[in-house]
Structure formats: structure tokens, C-alpha cells
């Protein structure tokens, strides 16, 4: 018995909400970052589900690009976190609230 599309979409919505919650409640920059990855992945899941339902490859191509951008984002973001940790000795996002270092 095949899984209905709605099940994938609801799962994707649940994962996205978890990502949002993580960004809202966690103050550790690394965990906030992981929550963002969670949101990106939930969107990827709906892309793939719709690609499968519509029988079109474009959804999977979009996921490919999302993955590329996510990889770049993680590299740059983690570099920034390390730089902040070097300068401030903290990875708490509430301690870093000035644009001026």
C-alpha cells in the first residue's frame, strides 16, 4: 500500500516546526544552526514528495541546489561562529548582540 502524499507533507511540516522551535528556544549558536538545517531538510522533503507526485525531475534539481547552498552556508556560518568564539569566548547568540564588534 502506497503512502499518500499528505503524509510526507505533514511530516515535512512537523520537521519545519521543530526547526523553528529550535531557533526560537535555543541560545547555543551551533544548535540554532542545526535547527536551520532541519528546516532546510524539511523543505527538501516536500520538494521531493511533490517531484514524485508530479513526475517531474525539477523538484529533485531544486533539492540539489538547496544542498549546495546549505553546504556553503554551513561552512561560512561555522567559520563565523569560530571567529566569534575566538573574539568573545562564547557561542551564546544572546551575548552577541552588537554589530560593532
Amino acid at each position: 500500500m502506497s503512502v499518500p502524499l499528505g503524509a510526507y507533507l505533514v511530516l515535512s511540516a512537523a520537521l519545519f516546526t521543530m526547526g523553528v522551535t529550535g531557533v526560537l528556544v535555543r541560545r547555543n549558536a551551533l544548535v540554532v544552526f542545526m535547527s536551520i538545517e532541519l528546516m532546510l531538510n524539511s523543505v527538501n522533503l516536500s520538494f521531493i514528495a511533490f517531484a514524485r507526485q508530479l513526475g517531474r525531475i525539477e523538484g529533485q534539481v531544486s533539492v540539489f541546489f538547496v544542498m549546495v547552498i546549505a553546504a556553503v552556508e554551513v561552512v561560512v556560518g561555522l567559520a563565523i561562529i569560530i571567529a566569534i568564539f575566538r573574539a568573545r569566548d562564547t557561542v551564546d547568540v544572546d551575548d552577541v548582540d552588537l554589530l560593532r564588534g
Binding site: L5, L45, V76
Partner: protein, 167 residues
């Protein structure tokens, strides 16, 4: 069979998601993220996206999570969470807002019956099919992606320099 696999992967993904946002040590969050990514790879296989499933395992589980773990180890001295209490009111509000958000999303998603998923076309989602699309219709974005990767590498090198040598 498909249903069982879906249920297992969905439970894995949800458990991992809870683990990411609820566990105190960042290492545990990173490993929960790995669980989510692995479960999603299984779902991608169910959805006839073999190439993307392989990419998911190689790029996300292989590279991104390892990068996270490296950084956690680099900063391991003091990456513990600050005391919770600073945010008590916001925390409650955040949960309420998130629950409302989920309710809205699910309501919208289930507002109209979705069509049954038909059989996938032959060869759908193989490396060949995705590659053919990437190198014909989407060749310009593909090249731009390589440029973005290059910029990312340079940015990481520049930002990662010790302070003082940056300029």
C-alpha cells in the same frame, strides 16, 4: 511494506528532530541531526529519488554533520547551554507560537484531498535523469553553484584566519 518503511523513517526523523532541539550537549544535537538526515534519505528512496538520497548521505550526513562535530570539538570547552532561566517567558511564547504555526500548516496541507501518488516514470530520479536535467536546462545555475562554492571556500579561509592577520 512501503508503509512500514515510511512509518519507521518518519518516527526516526521526528525523534531526531526532538533530539536536536531538546538535548543539552551540542554533540547529542549533532548526532540527532544525523538521525534526521538518515531517515530523510530513506524517505527519498521511497520517493524514487535515489540520486538525491545518495547525495543526502554523502553531503549532509558525511560532510555537514562531520563539520558540525569538528566545530563542537574545537569549541568543546564551553559550548554548554547558558542557564535556561534567562528566557523563561519567551520560551513559553515560542512553544505556543510554534504549535499554532504547525496547526496552520497542517490545516492548509489537509484542507483539500491530495491526489494518490502514481507510479513513477521509468528511470525517475536516477543519477542519469537528474544529471540530464542539470546539464541541459539548468546548466547555468549549475555553474553558478560552483561559483558559490568557490566564494564559500574563500570566505571560510578569510574568516577563519586568526584575528590580526585578517587584514
Amino acid at each position: 511494506m512501503e508503509m512500514i518503511l515510511f512509518a519507521a523513517a518518519a518516527v526516526g526523523a521526528l525523534a531526531g528532530g526532538v533530539g536536536v532541539i531538546a538535548s543539552r550537549p551540542p554533540v547529542r544535537s549533532a548526532l540527532s541531526l544525523l538521525l534526521v538526515l538518515g531517515s530523510l534519505a530513506v524517505l527519498y528512496l521511497l520517493l524514487a529519488a535515489q540520486f538525491i538520497a545518495a547525495l543526502q548521505v554523502i553531503i549532509y550526513a558525511g560532510a555537514i554533520v562531520v563539520l558540525f562535530l569538528f566545530v563542537i570539538m574545537l569549541l568543546h570547552a564551553r559550548t554548554g547551554e547558558a542557564p535556561f532561566e534567562r528566557l523563561r517567558a519567551q520560551r513559553t511564547v515560542a512553544y505556543v507560537l510554534a504549535a499554532g504555526f504547525l496547526a496552520v500548516l497542517v490545516t492548509v496541507l489537509l484542507a483539500r484531498p491530495v491526489a494518490e501518488v502514481g507510479a513513477a516514470p521509468d528511470g525517475f530520479g536516477t543519477a542519469q535523469a537528474v544529471g540530464a536535467a542539470l546539464f541541459t536546462h539548468y546548466v547555468l545555475p549549475f555553474e553558478l553553484a560552483s561559483l558559490v562554492l568557490l566564494v564559500g571556500i574563500i570566505a571560510a579561509v578569510v574568516i577563519g584566519q586568526p584575528a590580526g592577520r585578517a587584514r
